[in-house]
Amino acid sequence: MSNPSPDPVLEAEDLECIRGDRVLFRSLSFRVEAGTILLVEGPNGSGKTSLLRMACGLSQPSTGAIRWRGENLRRGADRFYSELSYVGHSPGIKADLTPIENLRFDQSLAGGRADLCDILNRMGLGRFMDTPCRFLSAGQRRRVALARLQACPATVWILDEPFTAIDHEGVADLTRVMAEHARSGGLLLLTTHQAVDFDSCEVQTLRLGQ
């Protein structure tokens, strides 16, 4: 039992994931410190999403433990969640609300006082601030979801395929935002099929499916 340390470190020890009859991964460990980006790579079906969901605490590994600041997630989940921002496969926004309403709700839930109009403008959604999200394209909806990262402050960002449906320019913008987050002491876990370059950031790679 390690003492809860104040350092923002997300570590996993000896994780095992079994889906049905297949063992996706076994004895997997990682350690992500402040300012580090962990890139999870692997072919389809290798368990990338499962790993990220375990890191969030949404699913339980059959063996092993995840620790945030030294405290096991099973016990200290609340403290972790107040510092976590997660964007999964589904954008996690309501189609019947406008982008600004979505973000305002996110801020009521997770905190943050950032100027929402400003963020949406920078994400290229300035013209659609008052359009219900159901009328936006898939890429635009994902941008609204990712706008949350800037609207609500969090230390740990866990992102599952964040660049899906985003165009080149958007990818470059987002990469910059993520690098900025890491440089200012945040942590990032993400999966992606794209080749991304986080300049001057500490990047670890985790390969699954071997």
Binding site: L58, G92, S108
Partner: protein, 226 residues
């Protein structure tokens, strides 16, 4: 700075009510179902006032129960499908309280119109004049219990593809106590008897449901989304 839980709960309720309002063409569906089911009974049994009067309390209550059951889907399904439900599980705010807020919003949208309209249905079924206030009282106490228990079933089946019929099988046995006390209270009131005991029991069920059901629903949601 993190917002207080109370702010979050209030924001969640407002969000759900806003979403319901944006779909206001569908808002009346549970109410319409309520009316249609009640109307089926005179057609299926007999239009005679005397017969209908005997079965009125049970019929109105069963119809309210079924209408509530059918609209449970609204509670978590869209949130599950667009990924917002996951985010509630990842929130530092206690999940049982978030569930309670959602259940409250669901009750306002689904049950409140039914309660308001119930006296009209009572008229259709020739409900005894002394029974009307009991009908309202039992519905006000009982429908939240139905929504709360329904939430548990919804939590267990939200991730399943054809969860609808399974949900009914899981929930209807648990609805029986509410139905028994609600319907017999209305019946007894119509005959001029004292129903304070019935209402106390419904009140006790409500308190039990408010404290325990959100816990079960949270556990169920965590299992469904794991």
């Amino acid at each position: 700075m993190e917002p207080s839980t109370l702010t979050a709960l209030w924001a969640l309720m407002r969000r759900d009510l806003t979403l319901a309002y944006r779909h206001r063409s569908e808002l009346l569906n549970p109410l319409l179902f309520f009316v249609i089911v009640v109307s089926l009974f005179p057609l299926g049994i007999s239009p005679e006032a005397k017969t209908l009067q005997t079965v009125a309390p049970g019929v109105v209550w069963v119809a309210a129960l079924l209408a509530n059951l059918l609209s449970l889907d609204l509670m978590f399904r869209t949130d599950f499908e667009d990924g917002t439900l996951e985010r509630f599980l990842l929130s530092p705010h206690p999940l049982p309280l978030l569930v309670l807020a959602k259940t409250a919003a669901h009750w306002i949208v689904v049950a409140l119109p039914m309660i308001v309209f119930a006296p009209v249905l009572g008229q259709l079924m020739f409900l005894r004049p002394d029974a009307y206030w009991a009908l309202l009282a039992t519905l006000i106490l009982g429908t939240p219990v139905l929504s709360l228990i329904g939430g548990i079933g919804m939590g267990l089946t939200v991730g399943l593809r054809r969860g609808g019929v399974l949900l009914s099988l899981l929930i209807l046995p648990l609805y029986v106590p509410v139905l028994i006390f609600g319907a017999t209270a209305v019946d007894a009131a119509g005959a001029g008897l004292d129903v304070s005991g019935h209402l106390s029991f419904l009140g006790a069920l409500l308190l039990l449901a408010i404290t325990l059901a959100p816990l079960a629903t949270s556990a169920a949601l965590r299992v469904s989304l794991s």
